[in-house]
């Protein structure tokens, strides 16, 4: 190992430093497993914190609806679902089944948690993936533009738009958009599919219908995240543009846009790449409110619903899927950074 450190860095591929890469990966994966366990433990405990449990929530919901509930009903539910056992015992039985891939049964919906998540996960990944793409495709060029043309009219316009996007709460934007479309065009935005395509999701008309339903939540959920991205990209790039290597490249006669895209932009992308890992879960949670208001069949509303009725297994299942997405995302962003930035390779050793 020691001898290799003196060699010039090689940017072309991983193979040259495969040992250190392997070591890096193993360390990362071990940390991931530990994090997964810690997340599961903390999540379970936090879900336990609110007063009452699934049985008491079910009973108070029923009495609120008007049903006469006999006093023993909560006790019967508690006994069947083993809600009266100590927290740690329940945590352990849940966790041991979880690591075997058994998410358990949703108390509220009487369905396997796995089926519920499987039904919503593709929609969630679709909506959030498109939102993410939309954010990047729009925000990164705008960020580059407003850094290169700092204090121009376009920069001010992008900045104002960005701040408005951050400042207006998502749900309000969603409601305003829905109201606007209802009053102006007589269209109610919401949902992800039209009923006539319930059994057919892949034909052209069905995909066109999907696109028609997809843009409002993407626009709304993208607006806030986009604003932050623009600011980050702009600030990073401004720092880079002032560095000597840019001046050197320019002095050597490199074409301006080619130069900017090739060197400073690549460095300025670092913070964005390193945050890939937490972009997905933060999208899922920030998009939850949009999904609720715009009636999206995604994981967000399912999670909120399960937390409200204290359906531990469903809520736990959704949270653990989100935790896994975060961990895998973090790993991916670590690998990407490792490849993108030589400094990380060296300090990673």
């Amino acid at each position: 190992m020691g001898g290799r450190a003196n060699r010039p860095p090689d940017h072309s591929c991983f193979s040259f430093e495969s040992n250190s890469m392997l070591y890096f990966l193993i360390r990362r994966i071990l940390a991931m497993l530990l994090t997964f366990w810690a997340v599961s433990f903390v999540a379970f405990l936090i879900m336990e914190l609110p007063p009452g449990d699934f049985a008491s929530t079910r009973v108070s919901e029923m009495s609120a609806a008007g049903v006469r509930v006999d006093p023993e009903m909560a006790a019967r539910l508690r006994e069947l679902f083993r809600l009266d056992e100590p927290v740690l015992v329940r945590y352990w039985s849940w966790f041991t089944r979880l690591v075997q891939g058994d998410f358990g049964y949703s108390l509220a919906f009487n369905m396997p948690v796995r089926d519920l998540i499987a039904a919503q996960l593709p929609n969630t990944l679709l909506v959030d993936g498109v939102t993410l793409l939309f954010m990047w495709v729009v925000a990164i060029p705008i960020g580059i533009y407003s850094a290169v043309r700092q204090y121009s009219l376009g920069d001010y316009a992008a900045t104002i738009l960005g701040f408005v996007g951050v400042a207006v709460p998502n749900f309000l934007l969603a409601l305003l958009l829905m109201w606007l479309f209802y009053t102006q065009f007589g269209v109610v935005l919401g949902g992800l599919h039209s009923q006539e395509f319930a059994d057919d999701r892949l034909s052209w008309p069905a995909l066109r219908d999907l696109a028609n339903h997809l843009w409002p939540p993407v626009l709304v959920a993208g607006a806030a995240g986009m604003a932050a991205l623009i600011r980050v990209m702009r600030a990073n790039l401004l720092d880079e543009l002032r560095k000597p290597y840019v001046t050197t490249a320019r002095a050597k006669g490199m074409r301006e846009w080619r130069l900017i895209l090739r060197y400073p932009v690549r460095i300025a992308m670092n913070p964005i790449v390193s945050s890939i890992g937490w972009v997905l879960p933060s999208l899922i949670s920030s998009a939850t409110i949009v999904a609720i208001v715009m009636n999206m069949p995604t994981l967000g509303p399912l999670l909120l619903n399960s937390l409200m009725v204290q359906d531990m297994f469903l809520a736990g299942g959704v949270l653990m899927v989100m935790a896994m997405l975060t961990l895998v995302g973090t790993l991916l962003s670590d690998i990407l950074l490792y490849w993108l930035d030589p400094r990380i390779r060296i300090s990673g050793r």
């Binding site: 009452g52 006469r68 006999d70 069947l80 009487n110 109201w179 919401g190 319930a198 009636n295």
Partner: protein, 637 residues
């Protein structure tokens, strides 16, 4: 034994049957079922109907067959489906919530002391799979489920104590119920929505999940990933309430429409299709329902349901879309959406009922709260018109916690006593109670020298307007030197504190404005929701020797004795007389105070949807809109 048809109105019944017999002979087949009948997979209409079908008199006109009723459904809201589709019990309420009509039953008799009921089923009623509905189904529900201590569902009021009731099957269409404790309200309870609980279990289908009929039921449950048979039957043949009931398309039902694609947690749409064996016909003998399908669009929240309704995408609905604050917006958009609004009379009598806990743990506070004059003074200290103007844009009418004007139990004095805003009089009364001393901030001091401060606990998730009202009251009471501390906490905590008697004051909606006998919780101590005396409830209704029980004052005990007597009275007239006595005691003791008469609600009706009444009661026990007979709704183009 005397035959009692109670409020079944014999003349009407005879008339209905006569019409039915002639009409069945002339009626044609349901168009959407014609092909099935032609193919021989479905018997013709006359063979599918009972000998003596339930004849529904259409509200406006005889309908035409076909079409979808479009509705909006909040995810997980089984109650909406129960009210809309699921209200098919042995008896059913009429539209006006006055008469009890035989529905799946054809009549009943009761003995003099209300301990033995003989109930006759309508002969020839069939489940949606074509199998006959008989007393075997009722006995299965009664003995194997509702009375079974293992069963997970909510045990209804008519089987509150399983050991006190026995069912005896006489023949396929007759059964007797023997009660150890007289219950003059047995048929009334069967007529309420919870009464459907005994008529939704098809024995042939549901018994396969029960270990007494299928020894492998527990193994089947484990194989399906469930704990035991209790969870298995809850999955396949769940009880009446809750969303689970509508998730199993294979389960035979007696309702007008059966679920085809379930409204489960991840569905965007749900379809219910016509039950070809539904047991009701119109006055010309056409089998109901007129509409082929119910088409639900599922939502997470009310906002987009309301928007859909305004856009004309909802044909007939009240639930979750009829907030009072939205009414003006609905009216503005009525022409664009092509709909109109019809009235609903809420069963609630008040926007909010305030309950001082008269058995509060703090002895000084208890001494104050138990003084009737204190409660009257606080009523005088409350400016109800200001609350109505501030919270309900002026819509309302100051009202105490008393039966509604539409109720036969309406008592003007009960409803209007101590309503006037009179802070001077309130101050005098409070001074006279020994609360004249005040601290530097102008608040009154209790006899023990500390500030008279009252904590009121509530939550803002179900009714945000409660918190708004309390904030106005807080300011009003400050003017007479009482500090109200409004605490918005989690709903479960509110419930827990009430059950454990840890609260000083709680508030709730004004239930029981029309359904006075069924839900008298604010007129007497009848429920653990009677938050002014939860330990009294425990003493009267549960175990007087248990830790949480305290012997109530004489007036409360007397009301309970009268209520017990009411239950033993088989005639409605006798029951009403006893209820009036109970109400008079409630009026004189002024246990709780109200704010404003709960205003009329509304439902949204598309202009091409017919046979919707101009007004109907809104309640859970009368499960709006069930009693209007959804089967007779039809649509024109």
């Amino acid at each position: 034994m005397i035959p009692i048809i109670g409020r079944l109105r014999p003349a009407v019944l005879a008339g209905l049957c006569g019409v039915a017999l002639t009409a069945v002979q002339v009626s044609a087949e349901v168009p959407s079922l014609q092909s099935l009948v032609d193919a021989g997979t479905l018997p013709p209409m006359a063979e599918r109907l009972p000998v003596d079908p339930f004849v529904v008199t259409p509200i406006d006109s005889i309908g035409v067959y076909g079409g979808d009723l479009n509705l909006a459904l909040k995810r997980g809201d089984g109650t909406h489906l129960l009210r809309l589709v699921g209200y098919e019990g042995l008896f059913s309420w009429d539209l006006a919530w006055q008469e009890m009509l035989p529905n799946l039953a054809s009549g009943y008799e009761v003995n003099d002391d209300a301990t033995e009921y003989t109930i006759h089923l309508r002969e020839g009623v069939r489940w949606s799979d074509g199998s006959p509905f008989t007393t075997a189904d009722i006995a299965f529900a009664y003995d194997d489920l509702l009375k079974n201590p293992e069963w997970l569902g909510a045990r209804p009021d008519y089987i509150a104590n399983p050991e006190d009731t026995e069912i005896e099957v006489i023949d396929d269409f007759t059964f007797k119920v023997h009660l150890a404790v007289p219950n003059g309200l047995y048929i009334f309870q069967l007529t309420n929505v919870d009464g459907t609980q005994i008529a939704i279990f098809n024995k042939a289908y549901c018994s396969q999940f029960h270990p007494d009929y299928n020894p492998r039921a527990n193994d089947d449950a484990v194989a399906a990933g469930l704990a035991d048979w209790r969870a298995l039957i809850e999955q396949n043949c769940p009880e009446m309430g809750g969303a689970n009931r509508w998730m199993n398309p294979d389960r035979p039902t007696l309702e007008a429409w059966v679920v085809q694609s379930p409204p489960d947690a991840t569905a965007e749409f749900s379809i219910f299709t016509r039950n070809p064996y539904y047991f009701k016909v119109d006055t010309e003998g056409n089998q109901l329902p007129y509409l082929d399908r119910l088409n639900f669009s599922l939502s997470n929240e009310r906002e987009d349901m309301i928007l859909r309704a305004m856009n004309g995408e909802v044909d007939f609905q009240d639930r979750h879309i009829n907030a009072l604050t939205q009414k003006s917006v609905y009216l503005e958009n009525a022409a664009i959406g092509g709909y109109h609004l019809v009235d609903q009379i809420p069963s609630a009598m008040n926007t909010m009922v305030l309950m001082f806990n008269q058995e509060v743990a703090d002895p000084v506070l208890r001494e104050i709260f138990t003084q009737r004059d204190f409660r009257v003074a606080m009523s005088f200290a409350t400016d109800r018109q200001e609350i109505i103007d501030a919270v309900y844009v002026g819509v309302g009418q100051p009202y105490q916690a008393a039966p509604r004007p539409e109720s036969r139990f309406y008592d003007e004095e009960y409803a209007t006593q101590y309503l006037e805003y009179d802070p001077d009089r309130a101050n005098q009364m409070l001074d006279a109670l020994g609360l004249a001393e005040r601290d530097g901030d102008g608040f009154r001091l209790r006899p023990d020298g500390s500030r008279l401060r009252i904590n009121v606990e509530t939550f803002d998730t179900a009714r945000p307007d409660w918190v708004d009202q309390l904030e106005v009251i807080k300011q009003q009471w400050t003017r007479v030197g009482i500090e109200l501390d409004v605490r918005v906490i989690d709903r479960n905590l509110v419930d827990e504190h009430r059950e454990a008697n840890l609260h000083e004051m709680q508030i709730w909606g004004g239930d029981g404005g029309l359904d006075v006998i069924a839900d008298p919780r604010y007129y007497m101590v009848s429920s653990s929701e009677s938050a002014f005396g939860v330990p009294w409830y425990n003493w009267l209704w549960n175990d007087p020797t248990a830790a949480g029980s305290i012997e109530p004052p004489a007036s409360v005990q007397e009301q309970k004795a009268l209520y017990d007597q009411l239950f033993q009275t088989p005639t409605p007239e006798g029951q009403d007389e006893l209820m009036r006595q109970i109400l008079a005691i409630g009026r004189d003791n002024f246990y709780v105070m109200g704010i404003s008469l709960a205003p009329r609600g509304y439902a949204v009706v598309r202009d091409n949807v017919h046979n919707i009444p101009d007004e109907m009661p809104a309640a859970y026990t009368y499960p709006t809109p069930g009693p209007m007979q959804m089967g007779q709704i039809y649509k024109s183009e």
